[in-house]
Amino acid sequence: MSGHGRKIVVSLGLCAAILGTLASVVCADTKSDIADRMAKRLEAIKKEKADGKIGETFYGLVDAVKVQSLSDEDLKKLVEDENTDRKAFYELGAKELGTTPESFALSAGRRNFLAAKPEEWLKLKDGKWIQKKELRAAKSGNLLTGSPSCTKA
């Protein structure tokens, strides 16, 4: 390859790299974008929670109460999309405050446990499911670490 040709290839490579970087910056999700998407599916999330199919987890995500429920492709996609957006928010927030996504996830877990309705299912730290109303103590500390009095398969 001639010197001139090599220069062209290098220039094109540089342009592609710059464009790629710009595209990633421009296309990066903002918190508002994530909130928009989550708002669109909030009604469906609430319905599945009310039906006892999904619930909030200790780690700030949603999950299917019964694994078999995930054979429903729509429900599986709903859970996956919700968790993808939540994780994106935890990453973004952590970058902004100079902390870890885990601290955001745990904070969200606490927040959503407290906001849960009595009939909704919660996945505790040990992975066991419990209905909020079944919790012996409503205090946040016990709510997050207390052992469940009943579990659902």
Partner: protein, 77 residues
């Protein structure tokens, strides 16, 4: 007589010195800065999380007024 007086004074001074007790107590400075920083970060994280989920609820309510909004838990924590 003077010798006795001098001896008494010296003895008194010596005894006083012997009785004097001095305590050199050094108190190590208590470092509380890191705790403050950790608490500050945790509070900021909680606020960010509350604000974000409240925003999601608000946007959902605007898009679909039938969606029931959950109360913020910000003050409860």
């Amino acid at each position: 007589m003077k010798h006795w007086l001098l001896a008494a004074i010296v003895a008194a001074l010596w005894a006083t010195h012997g009785c004097a007790v001095s305590h050199d107590v050094k108190v190590e400075p208590i470092e509380i800065k890191p705790i403050h920083i950790t608490m500050d970060i945790n509070i900021k994280v909680d606020r960010e999380v509350d604000a974000f989920f409240d925003e999601v609820e608000k946007k959902a309510a605007q898009k679909n007024p039938s969606v029931e909004t959950q109360p913020s838990t910000g003050d409860k924590r």
